[in-house]
Symmetry: C2
Amino acid sequence: MSADGSRRKRQRGKGDHPVAAQPVRGKTVKEIAAAANVSVATVSRALQRPEIVSEATRQHIQEVVKRLGYTPNALARNLRTARTRLIVALLPDIANPFFSEVIRGIEQVAHESGYSVLLGETQGSLVREQAYADMVAARQADGIITMSPRVPAIPIQGRLPVVNACEYVKDSQICSVYVDNVTAAATAVDYLLTLGHREIAFIAGPPSSPICVDRELGYQRALQHARIAANPALTAVGDFSIEAGERAIELLLSRGQSFSAVFCSNDEMAIGAMRALISHGRRVPEDISVVGFDDIRFARYTSPALTTVAQPKNALGREATTMLIELLNDPAVPPRKRVLSADLVVRGSTAPRSPKPR
Amino acid sequence: MSADGSRRKRQRGKGDHPVAAQPVRGKTVKEIAAAANVSVATVSRALQRPEIVSEATRQHIQEVVKRLGYTPNALARNLRTARTRLIVALLPDIANPFFSEVIRGIEQVAHESGYSVLLGETQGSLVREQAYADMVAARQADGIITMSPRVPAIPIQGRLPVVNACEYVKDSQICSVYVDNVTAAATAVDYLLTLGHREIAFIAGPPSSPICVDRELGYQRALQHARIAANPALTAVGDFSIEAGERAIELLLSRGQSFSAVFCSNDEMAIGAMRALISHGRRVPEDISVVGFDDIRFARYTSPALTTVAQPKNALGREATTMLIELLNDPAVPPRKRVLSADLVVRGSTAPRSPKPR
DNA sequence: CAATTTCATGTAATCCATTACATTGCACCG
DNA sequence: CGGTGCAATGTAATGGATTACATGAAATTG
């Protein structure tokens, strides 16, 4: 039958992609068992729990495994055991250096606990987030750490194996780890106030993200404490990119309002802001002070070096992963939100308000 | 034979990790088939190739699937079909912005072809690389794109489903996509020469990476063409980090050799170099010109903005993925090395050699 | 109208490893 | 010496989806 075998009827849908002709399958336990003259069970045991196999058998099997170059099929294993020991970390944007440090923390804890981490870049797209989340529903991964302010829907029963890092969602069922953005932002603005600044502009992040709302809240709260009326004309909104920071400054300057300091919702926008200010002939920090948020690696290397709010990036990652693994080990642990604190790092981009403004 | 025998049953190896008590298993085709009053085959078909199932049945099944919240178990599917439609991209360092753009290119092509991409950060560790590569041997992924100058061993028969991007290995069996680093580096150094520089320092990258050797080669070749004797005292080696760039400058300056320009093997080291130069009272570019390599996103935002060699990052990623998918579809395609070209981007960190040096 | 396709669906084999349960053999006990 | 316990290993069920092959009904053909 099918002497030629190859392209039978093979009718295919239109949206389909070419299919590999290559069903190269690897070695199986069976082959190893045969070669080693033992049963499949013994081979499996020799590999999974060597201590319950006799010394001689174990060595013999290991030798055969090595000689034949056998790697157990993880799909079969995971199918059977219903665990993958794999965590997917969703990051909105690899290009954003803020996340790299968080990832480090995630990987550290994951590896300590015998998990592997795979990263999925979502570029803020819900579709992409959902696609990666579906891997959990499809049992290809055990859990998810997401750094967007959203939790994808996963149609499984019981607790969602999802932890929110850096961001958080209202849903009290979802574990989160993040910093106290209100306080952190207020601290930064307070610092500007102590430097004598009164007209402090604010470059906000996307309002869809709760942490951005919080940062704005902190900004307003600090002003309020100092009995300074909020001036909506001093606020611009950006999307976290360097370019957005530049555009925000263009906008602020075009409004004709004077200001002697800018607080930015993240470092990249601060970098853009500094650049735009300089290209408009303002000196940083002599004319205008700039403060960022995150303390990305490059913040130290801008000139002037950026004063910013340092998030405990590594700790955020570590803590999130710890929570996720806890939850994977025991779905009954109560959900919790863990709030870390962030510290202001003073560098060269801030200075006391100069006597003659503008 | 376990003379110890202490904890009888449930005895576990020492390196073991806690095991979840939760074998929460999801819905299965069987349940859906039962609920929809059809056979499992029909359910599977309705989901995989809807066009071969009758309109009515298909709709009915889809309704049931939705109602019951069913997601097919990908492990079972992949086990059966021996394909995962998953590509793992190994990147040495997420913190390095160079790779982000490459990843973009990878994801674009992958998605167009119905593949998902997962990223594995290796931090240059062979062990980590190997761990991710093993996923292919274990059939958890179809192929690998690696951005290190190494190809992990994968014990499978036939062609290794591996493509090297940005870097390349000697092995002619392995597909690679990279830029002509020799020419690119030479172009950059030529440019410095046309600006009148004669004493050009070089900050090399790790010599373990062929592309770094090539960049050094390009540097030397350009000097040679200009009949300038190579001066080993003007070369320092770094590991691609900003800090390495700073240290390299410290070293070069400490040697007491004068130089009016520095060519760096990547942008981050160039950023570090600029910073170190400035903190030593040298002006960039008035006293010393600096050139980088890669054209990372931040290169445009340093002050002065960095002159650098722009790699076609997106194209590198796209091309590598195209190759990999080709190879996955037909393991018989001949291996090839694809060399793209890189362009010099002139910005503010370079200037003609000033008349009075030092 | 009988013969032949075609279509829609069902039955059951298959992918590969894990593991509950069964079996064997030996040491040790009273 | 028969019985008990344990270590080592084997047999076979299991996980969940895909799909070759089989079947029956409807459509087409001469």
